[in-house]
Amino acid sequence: MITFSDRQLKIPKMTKPVYLVTAGMSKFARAFPDRKTEEICIDAFTEAANFIDMTPAEMKKYIHTCYYGHFADHFGDQLLGEAAIHDRLGLDPLGNIGVKTGGATGGSTLWEAYKTVASGYSDCTLALGWERMDEVPTDEGNNYISCAADKDWETPMGHIYTGYYAVMAQKYWQVFGKEEESFRRTMAEISVKNHGYGRMNPHAHGGMKITVDDVLNSPIVAHPLRALDCCLMSVGAACGILADEKTAYEMTDNPLRIDLAAGSHTLRAADRRDMEIPLLPNETKDQYRNLDKEFPGGGRYPGFTGFLAARMAAYYAYRMVGIEDPTKDLDLVELHDAFTISDIQTYEDIGIRPYGHGRDYVESGDCYHTNPRTGEPGKLPANLSGGLIGCMHSVGATGIMQVTEVAQHIWNRWGEMHGDEAKWERFGREKPKDWQNLQVKGAKRGLAISHAGVGSHVTCTIVQHPDHVLPGGMFE
């Protein structure tokens, strides 16, 4: 049993509020054989500038410091790739740095940019992330990704990250899913939902109209996971501009409040040790007293079934901004659905449902834009972008894409940014005849989770409309 000190559990208190001024994304695709990385990054940057009616040159005049996220130098085959992109964006001589935290790279890049503004070092910071995953054959790509596991203890076994990851899915499937057919179908429902939402997103390359049975009949990757349970492998870029209050309102009339926190856990799942469950504001110690009885084998925490890093990111972030109950206090979320089952695990880690009951978030219909059970708006829609399954997983960009998507709802501009015929055409994609505007009506607050590997790094981003900031946050 390991314990944490009060100092380690201290809730971060920033010195000033930080705002998200704008954000932008490139097209996402499995491959861009005709484009260099800088072209894709400049697309995202330009979209962000145009979003606030600026030219890229005008927006650059405000930027003081730059953070660049891309997970794998191997994939891009370019060390110091950040310096190349920084130069191509014409941002020299500004200070810049690269951020690498695996799948959480996008979230971590925003986390760094946030602290830079909150500290006063910079009034306006760029966070830009990308990944170039198309320039090696798939099996060599798998090998590269497996190098993010422990090189001596894990990588030699199969050179396949899915294998190291999916053992956790197996444990969750057996202990909390009880190997039930109904649970398997709930997992599949997430895939259907996220592929379906991906169809409404011109940036996405995973849009598909499929059924639960299509998921259940897709090829097995690692039982119980099938091909359609897994995220995409993508190329693309996304960026956000963070600023202090004064600068933000000089750049736009509508900046949003943004706050981030991060957590971590062992690189190898093998090194996880037992501990007490760190509780979120909407949980009590008593509620988990009988977890092992309710779900035999589920008594070990986090064991192989929870993500401590996600739990800790939410632990800090909720208290920083005054979230008492994520379902009540938030209007939408973008979660790191690397696999359908890990999506369910995350519902529990971040307190949307208690440990053991994640599936209910899907089965209740709460996670939909429109609850298919009731026809009413979903209580807390998840991954309307399509997520990693239906939109993209261009690793360094993913966490920034999620925040961009959440923010566009709060800006009430999701329909404009996703419905524009010219954008569909520019991306060489056909806008579906049954295209649906997924704008969450009246969205005021949202959350994004960016997650690495077997849970080594997780960030939790909270975006709020400045007129609807929750009470009880760190500035009260």
Binding site: M1, I2, T3, P33, D34, D77, P137, D139, E140, G141, N142, N143, Y144, I145, S146, D150, K151, D152, W153, E154, P156, M157, G158, H159, I160, Y161, T162, G163, Y164, A166, V167, M168, A169, Q170, K171, Q174, I220, V221, A222, H223, R268, A269, A270, D271, R272, R273, D274, G297, F304
Partner: protein, 197 residues
């Protein structure tokens, strides 16, 4: 592209790496064109060898070839988790950062190792040498606070089943693959080539 025979080898002399033989096998770039013959890019082939230190874990990898499973234990009486045993091997205690004591848990592993979780996958990455489908097993040992990952090379995995380690004692390659797992009571004559109990 490369040829195993003249592959480079490395020794350490006077505390320095002394590579000898051939390490890099340059190959020409080739153009990548579209259907119309327009140039889009080039291939960048390469073959590189890293010289990698096992440091304080070297004894673990060396012991596998001798049929032994070595773990480590914190014996610092002032540590809040003193007595914890680590498998995977940790050179230092994660709590007090004193150097752990290396202990032999072979007998324990042969008696009471069980499968905590598992995964069967057909997918592999480049350079894989394990037969497919790979059966990953996470092995729990009595009295050990962590859970080792390995591959089950015979039989079918199941949560809670007893497994025993086998070791590549003939021609070890000094990687984690010198250690594999089989179900308890698997016949000794049906182990993979080079492996023994």
């Amino acid at each position: 592209m490369s040829c195993k025979e003249d592959r480079g080898t490395v020794k350490v002399v006077d505390g320095k790496y002394k590579p000898s033989g051939k390490f890099h096998y340059p190959a020409p770039n080739t153009p990548i064109k579209d259907e119309k013959g327009k140039l889009l890019g080039i291939t960048n082939p390469r073959d590189i060898v890293h010289m990698h230190s096992y440091g304080g874990e070297a004894i673990f990898f060396e012991s596998l070839g001798k049929g032994k499973l070595m773990a480590t234990k914190c014996e610092n009486p002032d540590c809040e988790t003193t007595g914890s045993i680590y498998m995977p091997f940790r050179i230092f205690c994660p709590d007090c950062l004193t150097r752990n004591k290396v202990i032999d848990i072979t007998a324990k592993a042969k008696k009471n190792a069980i499968v905590h979780s598992f995964m069967i996958t057909e997918r592999t990455g480049a350079f894989n040498t394990l037969p497919t489908p790979i059966k990953f097993v996470n092995v729990e040992f009595e009295g050990v606070c962590t859970i080792l990952m390995g591959a089950l090379i015979r039989g079918e995995p199941k949560i809670g089943m007893r497994v025993v380690p086998i070791f590549r004692t003939k021609k070890p390659d000094y990687t984690i693959l010198d250690l594999l797992w089989v179900p308890a009571d698997w016949p000794a004559k049906d182990l993979p080539e080079g492996y023994t109990y």
